[in-house]
Assembly symmetry: C2
Homo-oligomer: 538 residues x 2
């Protein structure tokens, strides 16, 4: 294809029929990726971050380019403008994200996936991808619910039931779970044809509810707020309970529910989190299941992050109670080390997803096994293949090792932080996530004795310090931790800023962790905030 | 990694750090894909279809395998069980799907995308992917709305506005459009805080609406029915208008709206389709825009299929009126030849998406440019990169040629069908989709003179014939057309079964089309149904 020449059909056919030459720029990129991903990224991702405003200059043209561009010229352009300014998620010192290094086999498998380009919305466009996806859902269902062989033999490939739904990520999974919950609660009843057909206003009126709520802790994922908006319940009906200990108190959840229901309202669902995004904590799932049962409401567990803990014989017990959930969200692109875009929701009762079943003439015909009949998304890609492959190549015992090592590493890091008098561990790791902050030893001593007003003042300075250190560390490009704001039991009534670290990357070593702390200390000590904090007049 | 051996951490690290060897099975697959995709698929995808029930036997185990598996052993397994039983979407004779051959450059680019594994939900995990995605949305916005340079300079990278949203596909795009429409219609007003916060029941009561409807034709995509369910309006409130001519009559839409609103209800949106899934027809967009304006409602255009027609100077006029749409859906994985999973919704007014804006502490902070603040999905992959690359490598003029050749090819196929006395063209191609059926010349003559009862009887036999021919052709594995059921003006009050053909694959030749017709005729003539149809006693 000529660059800046007039496009011709002959040239176009070439990109569909003639493979990239072995010595082309794109082939070169591909070979480098395959041979040494870490080296490729180190070589091409620039460490000195450009500002977003600066980057926007490279993506400022709003016109579709008129003439075709050489593939190789475009590949150079991508390296220069995009790859150079992307985030190195593979790096063992980038421990602030939930995306980490991926195993190599996903590179060629992703290429195979695109070469096949199946669409699992229906069998006609996906064939074996349909039973494959159902099997993956069945495996995760078994992992969570451990139902009988008869159960799985009856439902795994049933046309009338499904064990769950595949989707692009945890947000769609959570929305799907609450959609199913809403439609099941407000089901057809006598003359009323059900909320799916008649809508929320008619349903509330039929059942005599003023409002419908979803209860979770303040650490519940922001997708829940999207879900109650989308589903027509309203964001005010997401009742978020304070959780200074980072987990949802079953007692407080019950109290809030009773109070809400005493006003003529109804609780639709309790959502427990298994691995909060911010601190990795796990809500008391068994107790919450009891509360949901008492209330006669749906119990959903958002295990997008923590679900794979079930692979570990040592740590699975942290999730005890998840087997009572009516629905569970798991993201394979998090702790299952699959590329972005692999979310799942599992349903305890395989009849449940019928609450959102839909049909059309040319697709999803009644009685068909088309997956699209009960998914929120329509056409989508065959990501389930990568989950399937990862389940086989790692096996349960491989995933167990990955889970175990990440939790051990987080415990080690917590120890390193505790051992260093100039850092303060803020939340202990339940899974492999922890939060902490730089807090000079002299300030730690002051905090212990300070009045609550003084504590607040000191914490504000520390917040400032944390923000500065986090930004400067990110900008210097060697390592990355993220930051968030939390309420913690130690400082009641306050929200403090903390470093947030996720130790899922199996390549991260103890030395990496020591280096990150050393770098943070060095940055911290050079800031004016630090100097003010430790000066006697502070 | 050992197969069926005990997993060890050392083995696990290998899959993260040691690339696939050049002579491994997976490397071999990759090389074959890169060298000749068509040959790879011909060699590995079996042509003799196995039944779904049979395939399910290969995906019947519901337990996560306990021990790890060699990557190469697994690659063999994938070839044998999955690739062999997938659909050959690249083949020029598989013209029944909306997925067709992809250009070669998407193979290495997809690998790069997975190597980078960015998450565009926020800048922190996607950096340059954020302005890139906004640029892609801007280019499509410009293509549709052709607004001024000032407009794009002001909004392309704005933190407070957005020109659209990227998503996994047209279904999520349509849902997002109607979500925005609902929240804008039922916005905050005096004491009422808006539907997003208070929910649908409170909103309907505040505004005094009994029901809210969405109007489209019977050919509207099934995702619209999902959308009105999800959004709490109820599926009965999707008013689908009969369309024997395959397009939505503006007059009938207005009548239905007036009737609905006279009962104390309100029309939320009119949805026009630009390229129906079944026949490729385009609704009269300008007229529907007028109706929407008269009703004071949202006008959405579902151009998932037909949107790229705008690249063609010759055919863009077919979509005249789309520039009046408040929102437009386009799927890049259809006529933009990008792999599955690239949907977009564009908003005429960049303030519109604020109706669904949301924030959280650790992400999507107020004032940030994080894309996740106004998307339905949360974490997702960086597919916008592939759209960006395709826009550059094809250019507008390249896409124009692709659009033009596919429409010309559909017109040619229509001519071939018309020229053959044993086929009946059912719907003409507006874009590159058409429908037809096998109809022996003697039966065509009978139909012209038959009473309406006889027509119905004959059409039922023809339906049977179409189903048999379509299935047998699919099963014989050389070529594939799909089928659907339609109402057409010629046979009022009846729904007939037709072959459905989509001529988007640039590799399909005239000879392929002649061969497909010849094969259908040969299959048809061997059926009992055919013999009965042509026998004098019929």
């Amino acid at each position: 294809m000529l660059k800046k020449a007039k496009a011709s059909l002959e040239h176009l056919y070439r990109v569909f029929t003639v493979p990239e030459q072995g010595d082309s720029k794109l082939a070169e990129i591909e070979q480098h990726l395959s041979a040494n991903l870490s080296d490729f990224l180190s070589q091409h991702v620039v460490t000195q971050a450009r500002s977003l405003e600066d980057l926007e200059q490279d993506f400022a043209d709003f016109r579709v380019p008129e003439e075709p561009e050489f593939v190789s010229a475009h590949a150079e352009h991508l390296l220069d403008k995009l790859v150079a300014n992307s985030v190195n998620t593979y790096s063992p010192t980038f421990i602030g994200h939930m995306t980490s290094a991926l195993p190599y086999f996903h590179l060629p498998l992703s290429k195979l996936l695109v070469g096949l380009n199946q669409n699992p919305v229906k069998i006609e466009t996906s064939k074996a991808f349909t039973p494959l996806e159902r099997q993956v859902l069945g495996m995760l269902h078994k992992l969570i619910y451990d139902d009988s062989d008869d159960f799985y033999q009856a439902h795994l490939h049933s046309a009338r039931r499904s064990l769950g739904a595949f989707c692009s990520g945890g947000t769609v999974a959570n929305i799907t779970a609450l959609w199913v919950a809403r439609n099941n609660l407000l089901k057809a009843d006598g003359d009323f044809k059900g909320v799916a057909k008649e809508g929320v206003a008619a349903a509330m009126s039929h059942y005599g509810y003023k409002k419908l709520a979803v209860i979770c802790s303040k650490r519940g994922h922001y997708s829940l707020s999207k879900a109650v908006d989308l589903l027509g319940l309203g964001r005010e009906q997401l009742l978020t309970i304070d959780c200074p200990g980072q987990t949802l108190s079953a007692e407080k959840a019950l109290q809030a529910a009773r109070k809400f229901e005493a006003q003529g309202n109804k609780v639709l669902a309790i959502v427990g989190v298994a691995g909060t995004t911010e601190t990795g904590h796990i809500d008391p799932l068994s107790e919450l299941a009891d509360v949901a049962q008492q209330l006669g409401c749906h119990f959903h567990v958002d295990a997008a992050w923590g679900g794979p803990t079930l692979f570990s014989h040592t740590h699975a017990k942290l999730l005890t109670g998840i087997e009572h959930a009516d629905s569970v969200t798991i993201d394979a692109h998090k702790q299952m080390y699959v590329p972005m875009g692999a979310g799942m929701v599992l349903f305890k009762n395989p009849e449940d997803s019928n609450a959102v079943r839909h049909h059309a003439n040319y697709i999803l015909r009644a009685g068909s096994k088309d997956l699209g009949a009960t998914t929120l998304e329509g056409s989508r890609n065959g990501m389930a293949m990568l989950v399937y492959s990862a389940l086989h190549i790692f096996g349960r015992s491989g995933y167990e090792l990955l889970v175990d090592q990440s939790i051990e590493k987080a415990q080690l890091f917590a120890q390193l932080i505790n051992d260093d008098p100039d850092f303060e561990l803020v939340t202990d790791p339940t899974l492999c996530i922890l939060t902490y902050r730089a807090c000079p030893r002299i300030v730690q001593a002051q905090l212990q004795q300070a009045s609550s007003t003084d504590k607040e003042r000191i914490n504000q300075r520390l917040d400032e310090l944390t923000v500065r250190v986090q930004k400067q560390q990110r900008e210097s490009g060697k390592s990355f931790v993220s930051r968030t704001r939390l309420e913690v039991a130690k400082y009641p009534g306050q929200t403090i800023t903390v470093f947030r670290v996720i130790l899922a990357n199996p390549l991260t070593t103890k030395q990496d962790l020591l280096d990150i702390l050393a770098e943070q200390k060095a940055i911290s000590e050079k800031t004016q905030t630090f100097q003010k904090l430790i000066s006697p007049a502070a």
